[in-house]
Symmetry: C2
Subunit: 376 residues, 2 copies
């Protein structure tokens, strides 16, 4: 299979760009003196995670226990499941640990902490638990100054569990688009997480791991004093949301969707392509950012951006490609039926998830099929 004969739509990975992105993040975190634990929810794809580990990553972060199971089966044992533990999933976590997986789970409330401790004691298993901190109000976690933090720490320690550390994710970093603002939110994430660790230690509780991370803060933090590890995921592909945040160029985006022109509405300046939201995902993450890219930015088959052409609208298996501003009445001449285009996505995690495999364009110019998995 070559790029010319690949059935469309297909999720293409430019391996050269991907490797550059992997090296950039690893070099940066090495220079900052912290371990790197990439979030594999972006790709759920073994060859990509292998490349991250080969470059220096230590352990992985997952968003589902299925990811933990799949990667543990591939020989990766150092795993943090970075979504608050549901008591109903403890049996599944226990089974992984019994098989030898060094699985860490997280918690941000007393009820779950007590449920973990009770289940752990019942099964003679000292789960390693990290406490989730809220450093920016965007989602889950305990505020570093909240006394609940100490109460949860004690419930785990007194309950016989291993209190392994604290973890935060400054998800609000996606809402900024200047370097100054990103430096500020990165410092807020670092300082808040370190503060939580200090409070636990001052209360006589152990807290060896101080884990933070998001792609924007990892790339913008000025120092990471007190932090032991960073998690980031989308950097491996980058996407248009990250472009708008200001941490990559479009020429860094390693994921695109290959599509074929199947028709036109010439008066409207539309080319109709065979990739719709099923191939791009419904993610409209750039909608509220400084530039709205619709469902994606149009490139030629070689991957060069073609200017102001966007996938402006999408149905399940149809995309509408049009020029920003005045309609291109010559669109049928510019992109005749059969023309193959690549569309850069808003959000690499969401777009990748729509595809059973990536088609990897290797640095040697060959094409390899890299399977990914989905579900729970």
């Amino acid at each position: 299979m070559s790029l010319d004969t690949l059935t469309t739509p297909a999720a293409l990975v430019d391996v050269n760009r991907m490797n550059r992105n992997i090296a950039r993040m690893q070099q940066r975190l090495d220079a900052l003196g912290v371990r790197f634990r990439p979030h594999v929810k972006t790709t759920k794809c073994e060859p990509i995670v292998r490349a991250q580990i080969a470059a220096g990553a230590q352990g992985i972060t997952v968003s589902t226990l299925k990811e933990a199971e799949q990667f543990f089966e591939k020989g990766i044992g150092d795993i943090v499941y970075a979504v608050g533990m549901a008591p109903g999933k403890l049996q599944q976590a226990l089974a992984l640990r019994r098989r030898g997986c060094d699985l860490k789970i997280i918690v941000d409330n007393l009820r779950c902490a007590e449920a973990i401790a009770a289940f752990g004691r019942e099964h003679h298993e000292a789960f390693e638990v990290w406490i989730e901190l809220d450093v920016d109000g965007h989602r889950s976690g305990i505020a570093p100054e909240d006394d609940l933090l100490i109460a949860v720490g004690r419930a785990l320690a007194d309950g016989g569990m291993t209190l392994g550390g604290v973890l935060a994710h400054a998800g609000s970093s996606y809402e900024y688009d200047t370097h100054e603002a990103l430096v500020r939110i990165a410092e807020q994430e670092r300082a808040g997480t370190v503060r939580g660790a200090q409070r636990l230690r001052a209360a006589g509780l152990r807290c060896p791991v101080v884990s933070i991370g998001s792609t924007p803060t990892a790339l913008c933090a000025e120092h990471l004093e007190g932090v032991t590890e960073v998690r980031a995921g989308v950097y491996v592909m980058f996407d248009l949301v990250m472009h708008n945040v200001g941490v990559c160029e479009t020429s860094d985006i390693a994921l695109s969707v290959l599509t074929t022109v199947i028709g036109h509405q010439e008066e409207k300046g539309w080319a109709i392509v065979d990739a719709g939201w099923m191939a791009m995902s419904r993610d409209r993450g750039t909608q509220r950012q400084k530039r709205d890219f619709g469902y994606g930015l149009v490139c030629n088959e070689a991957g060069d951006v073609l200017g102001d052409y966007l996938m402006s609208s999408a149905n399940q298996e149809h995309g509408i490609v049009s020029r920003t501003g005045a309609p291109d009445k010559n669109i049928a001449g510019r992109f005749p039926v059969g023309t193959r285009l690549r569309i850069l996505p808003n959000h690499a995690c969401a777009t990748g998830a729509q595809h059973p495999e990536y088609q990897a364009l290797t640095e040697k110019g060959t094409l390899e099929s890299w399977p990914r998995f989905y579900g729970w």
Copy 2:
């Protein structure tokens, strides 16, 4: 496996509601005197398509050639692939026809029509081709009055292909929310498609099939004179978009996502659940409708709507459930950690596609796993 022990998130199908939806559409189209060819892109799931056929459906509509291949392997041979044919996919279509599949393909431009005819002659295959009409300006197709229609018809007929009919889809019907407007767009879809067929026949070309359809127009058309078949897909599940359009009640929605509460931010009135956009999809189809349901409407585990609680925000594996209006400061008391909720989705096609299987709650109260497929 029972509902209590099912791992979350999971895509639940209420089989009783689904069967009621199937019966409603079939009875309606029987009364209107047309054949029904359901669009299976909504579910891509054999037991559901079998139920549609058992109720009286004749043939299926697909959005990808993979759907055609998968359902042909299950013994369903009468298939229309309702996305404009890309010349590069003709080999795949030919292979299906050679295996005995009665696959129909569609076209809306001369270049594709000529490519189909050339390829067909080269391979001694008279493809059955339907011409796609544009009845509402929303996407693809040839306007019924455009002379291009006759030119494409002649290119196919003179090229030795079988001109099987015309096909239209009034996708803009999703934009209305009154019965009067839906009756009007349904009549526009019917009249425009019949007009296209009449023009082809007047030009001496055959046009046995006159195929129209969308869920809203199928449910609102006052008569279907001149139409031979209707296609509709989402009616089998219904969803919040269809609720806002006005063609179903929330108590008709057969698909929901089962999720577990994993934490809270009490001051904000948030419950955090373990279903995010990966489980719900990124579809925000109600955003511009009369009621914006966020990422979905919250029900208890039994499936009863709980009032004004929505999934107001979503990350990949986290959803935020909150009350519309003033924050519910008692949300942790109302939905304690471990509480299981069901979320009705904006768009059943998009939400289903995120899941490797449906968990079907049968009329007998048992739970069955019904696999679905994805990819191209």
